[in-house]
């Protein structure tokens, strides 16, 4: 009898430890990703200075000797992201307010399903649709030699950031205590005044997190951007010219590099930059989301 109990305790103990181990897996994988990016990426800095890499104005990885400055790529990513944010933040937050506050029951369910549908569409499909619809449209409207521009990329990315922004901002609006709203109504405020003066400020940290996570999604997006921004690695001057982003550079060039070459290391170094950007965005957004309400 006692033997049976100790056996059961032992089994219990082993299972518990195994489960703990799996619980730690996420930490392990995040570290593993960073370590392997560093392992391959840092090799570049034996031959190229960090400042020349980050601030170098030309990216000609296959010329002899190669020039590996990613400033044009960083600026390309920033420009496209900035454009996408300008479009998606106001529209996304407005949509979240509409869904959370105004839409009647049935309509609300339909709208939410629509947003989920958008989130589910693979980025390569959106990229393809962008190529056949948006790109020719931009070309025609602005009378350009090519429609593969930063503007096309921004519009498409704004669209792709919407589900993130809408769903997180919506949650933030729901989490405002009901009593706030009831108090405002009792004082004679209209629904809109309540939303504008009370709900939005009260949910502001959650909405900020939504915006940041949306931007994180945009910076990391790869396929659609690669298919519709034109991929020219020059420092961008306007929204109406082709640009190339950090992500698209990795995706487009990794297939042609030789493992262990300087170009290969440089693409991993770009990966490090992207990893750090997404890490900072996610940690900050998480702080906003878990900020204790005053």
């Amino acid at each position: 009898m006692t033997k049976k109990i100790t056996l059961r305790k032992l089994k219990e103990f082993i299972i518990e430890k195994l489960i703990l181990l799996c619980g730690l897996a996420s930490i392990f994988f995040v570290m593993l990703i960073f370590i392997f990016l560093l392992k391959e990426g840092l090799a570049l800095f034996k031959t190229v200075k960090v400042s020349n890499f980050l601030l170098g104005k030309s990216w000609y990885p296959i010329s002899e000797p190669p020039e590996l400055g990613i400033l044009p790529l960083i600026l390309g990513s920033l420009l496209v992201t900035f454009g996408a944010a300008i479009i998606s933040v106001p529209i996304g937050v407005a949509c979240a307010v509409y869904i959370a506050e105004i839409a009647p029951g049935k309509v609300k369910e339909v709208l939410k399903a629509g947003i989920e549908l958008l989130a589910a569409i693979p980025s390569v499909v959106l990229g393809f649709i962008g190529m056949v619809t948006l790109v020719p449209w931009v070309k025609k409207v602005f009378n350009l030699p090519t429609g593969l521009t930063a503007l096309s990329g921004s519009i498409m990315l704004a669209f792709m950031a919407m589900p993130t922004i809408v769903s997180i901002a919506e949650d933030a609006l729901y989490s405002v205590p009901r009593s706030y709203k009831e108090g405002a109504f009792a004082l004679g405020a209209t629904h809109w005044q309540t939303i504008w003066r009370l709900l939005l400020p009260a949910a502001s940290s959650g909405i900020l997190a939504a915006v940041m996570l949306g931007i994180g999604r945009v910076i990391g997006e790869t396929m659609a951007v690669m298919m519709i921004t034109g991929n020219s690695a020059v420092i961008p001057q306007t929204f109406l010219a082709p640009v190339r982003t950090l992500t698209a550079t990795i995706a487009a060039e990794m297939g042609e590099t030789v493992v262990g070459s300087e170009h290969y290391f440089a693409l991993f170094a770009i990966g490090i930059v992207l990893f750090i950007i997404s890490f900072v965005i996610n940690v900050t957004a998480d702080l906003f989301l878990h900020r204790k309400p005053k």
Partner: protein, 282 residues
């Protein structure tokens, strides 16, 4: 001063307009793909190999490749993800360590997909010497969908009422027996939902498989997990940007197959979630 009622009407109309801005294009995209892709969908298109440099024939190897990859990813991610969810919902206390675990999950979910590709290349393809293969691709995709599975499973486990556990424990069951026989069975629908959402994500992603498994043009089926394979999202990318003069019908057809696969999978998840919520008696 503007009438407050009028102001409210204008504001609400504007909010409605913004919502239309998002929803209408979504509908248009789906309708466009269905309308232009449907004529391409023949039995032959679905079951034949690509021919004439992908300008004719079908997409069967790409469909099979995607099914293999997704299966592999779920097999890798489900055990770890489920155990991690059990840890977080049943064992973890509110300590710094668990705060860090949650932050790691958030970060894992936020890592750009192309960075997963780099990671898979460095770790599985080069360091483990698996080469560009279904194994490397599945492992990469598995780590990518891990946070989705953990989050959904954890929510499902936490939704099981506390009293269930207390009753079981008070009857003398051990903690693990309680989890195994009481908590898990009640959380199954939620866990399945998480797995299905993971499947949808893994089936649609291109960037992580670019350098870990995807074959540009491979008109035969993979024989083992160490073979390269074609995959639907990568195939769509290739025929829409890398190969000139591909018939528009083939492009839309491929997009339709990929889209319907992903949407069907998501629809199943939604239905399960909905029925589960209705059935729930507690």
């Amino acid at each position: 001063m503007m009438n407050v009622r009028l102001k409210e009407k204008i504001a609400f109309f504007f909010l409605f307009l913004c919502t239309l801005f998002i929803i209408v294009p979504v509908g248009m995209i789906v309708v466009l793909i269905i309308k232009k892709g449907l004529p391409a969908l023949t039995w032959q298109f679905l079951t034949d190999v690509p021919r004439q440099g992908m300008r004719a024939g079908g997409i069967f190897p790409a469909i099979v490749g995607t099914v293999y990859l997704v299966t592999g990813a779920v097999v890798c991610a489900l055990p770890i993800g489920l155990a991690a969810a059990i840890y977080l919902s049943e064992y973890a206390k509110d300590t710094l360590l668990n705060r860090i675990i949650k932050l790691a999950i958030v970060n894992l979910a936020g890592v750009p997909s192309v960075v997963y590709g780099l990671f898979g290349l460095a770790l599985f393809v080069v360091w483990c010497r698996f080469g560009a293969s279904i194994l490397s691709g599945s492992l990469t995709l598995g780590i990518m969908i891990l946070p989705i599975i953990i989050t959904a499973s954890r929510e499902a486990l936490e939704a099981v009422p506390h009293s269930f556990r207390e009753v079981s424990l008070s009857l003398g069951a051990s903690k693990w027996q309680t989890i195994r026989h009481i908590v898990l069975p009640n959380a199954i629908p939620g866990i399945i939902t998480g797995v299905i959402l993971g499947i949808g994500r893994a089936a649609g992603e291109t960037a992580p498989i670019l350098f870990t498994v995807a074959a540009f043009y491979l008109p035969k089926l993979p024989q083992s997990i160490f073979d390269q394979a074609m995959a639907l999202p990568y195939h769509l990318y290739v025929i829409s940007t890398q190969v000139p003069n591909v018939d528009e019908k083939i492009r839309y057809g491929t997009a339709l197959v990929l889209l319907s696969l992903v949407l069907c999978v998501n629809l199943i998840a939604i239905v399960i979630r909905y029925r589960f919520r209705k059935q729930k008696k507690w």
